[in-house]
Assembly symmetry: C4
Homo-oligomer: 209 residues x 4
């Protein structure tokens, strides 16, 4: 089966998800003449938005480059891709909860919302691990060239590293939400670095051919 | 007429529909320090979300595989496809009602919201029955090969089976909402199984060619 | 310039517009145990939703078939298409106002919301008149065949007929909102019939080639 | 790497962004029989909507024409494009703030919301400057012809002119919000004129080939 509609549908879901995140921003109740002060207290919404945009953006970049190595889709790949998309759509709500908790700055609420976000991030990485593993085992779906198999081998551990980072973030968050948040942010930065590595490799591969 | 824009538009509608379902999740009113307890009471939103994501996801998978057998679209197919999309967009609201009713746990409200969802599910299956029947009668739109005609014959009864399952769900819900809900969930699982059957067959067909 | 991204972007806007119309449905405030009674009072939302879905759906169908006759886009066509999309996005808000006015059933408010809807509908038809006229004068953008020129000639008057119908609807609404609503609904049904005529012709054309 | 999915994803984000702007329109609290008066006080929402639709529309037109000169994407271009999209999604919230401030007409709140909008507009122009500069330095991604290099040279200064216009708008807004708003609107009109210049040139180029 052709891969193009799978890509189009996934692009649609990513595009919508990354865009409706802006709906979190809404004009607050404010005293006339004091709009600025009120909007400035919303900085956690901007913070959470940036984090989630970078996160979903990095996931899309991975999806984009990874699917370029594929030629066909299969029934199983369709289902796995749907589970990947499901996991990514779940990030929207904890993004809002993190913003809310950061505005109130209550330790218990921060701990809960950060851990929620981190657990979803772990789940996303697990679905990517399944996706990578499935494609590695089904070379008949790919363009079948050696460079690709090498790429698959190179990125094999990426999702597991992510799961570990977010796992560590959960544990640290239990003791200290602020340090946990730092590890979470580092995890998302790791995604970006991992993408840059994948992207560079893919470009080299294309030049070699 | 080319089929690609019909697919692109449909993918767009499915992608948006499946993604805006997350908008049901919204930060509840809560007492500072008790965010977790409040969010946990929202489990019915997660439950309804998972059910509807699986449902719309399975419908997209069907749409995806089914349209791969088509080469052209016609004026009638454009209209039928629009009716299919219309029926699917209607699932969003009963999803929210089911979540709400499950949070309040009032039997009358649960009965109403479950039956609403089940009636929409019946309607969706009816539109798919019309779609399948139309394509079966218009081989000039397809890639014209024997395997496809066999696939059309094989999936012919699927929508009617779904209509029956949801019909039974309605009747059971009248007497017992909880058992009705179970049948509804089974109906959605049936969609997934039916897709896996269709997907496997299509892959075999492609290999045979 | 290639026409495909123009189509993709337009499909995106139509798909989103037709889908976010469902966001008008929202769980009402209700007394536990009386969800059904409250939801049933929302029938005007369903009515307005069906009308607008049929309307935007018919517009998409036109857009779809019409752009199949085009091979290239131009700077002017890009801008005209954007104005067409702008006019269509405006239908969302009067849809909500019509639903609201029909729930309250106040004659003055109904008159206002119906006329708002009808004026936007007139504006949409005017933008289509501009689109049709531009393409008729720029055969270098089309697949250049005689059947197409005939199609353009055939549909030339459609937008003007629509403008007239909605103009009549405005005048009637001033005196009687209910009769005005009827004319508005007839106008939307006219779109559908006009599409069926266009669609049939285009299919014949394709067969002739 | 192929450029098509990058275009599809970007089209998705633009289409969603331009369409969810309509969600700013919502039925106001009103006294039955006085819906019209209340809706008319919402004119700033319509004003802000038109401005932002024209703005995002012009940006899409640029993106559309500019990417037609490209044949491949690279890891860096993927990332830069994501930053461009990020900057554009930020325009949604200040649009709502501008509408709100114009409804209340408090000078301090107007100043704040206009400056917010202008700063985001500056940021968007900066991201386009980076995009243009990157592509100019990477001819291996383009269709490699002399006309294109000429186009790149011609539009090189456009983002810097925009940044200057919005910078001037910020300074003027500090002293007089109304005059600042005028400069902001002129800046957006400048985008449109700049697009019409680019579009005309690209059409000539295509004819020359």
């Amino acid at each position: 089966m052709r891969i193009d509609r799978l890509e189009a549908f996934s692009d649609g879901v990513y595009a919508i998800l990354i865009t409706i995140l802006v709906l979190e921003f809404s004009v607050p109740e404010y005293q006339v003449g004091h709009l600025m002060e009120r909007v400035l207290t919303q900085w956690p919404i901007m913070f959470a938005y940036v984090i989630s945009f970078v996160y979903v953006g990095a996931i899309w970049l991975f999806h984009h480059d990874f699917f370029q190595t594929l030629k066909y889709t299969s029934m199983e790949l369709n289902v796995i891709n749907l589970v990947v998309l499901f996991s990514v759509t779940l990030i929207d709500y904890p993004t809002a909860l993190v913003a809310q908790a950061l505005m109130e700055r209550n330790v218990k609420d921060m701990r809960f919302s950060f851990i929620y976000y981190e657990l979803i991030a772990m789940f996303i990485s697990v679905t990517f691990a399944v996706l990578y593993s499935y494609v590695r085992k089904h070379p008949e779906l790919t363009h079948r060239n050696d460079h690709q198999q090498k790429i698959y081998a190179d990125i094999k551990m990426d999702p597991l590293i992510s799961v570990s980072i977010y796992g560590v973030a959960v544990i640290i968050t239990i003791f200290s939400p602020w340090w946990g948040l730092l590890v979470l942010v580092l995890g998302i930065i790791y995604h970006f670095i991992a993408y840059i590595r994948l992207g560079s490799r893919m470009q080299k591969t294309i030049r070699l051919e």
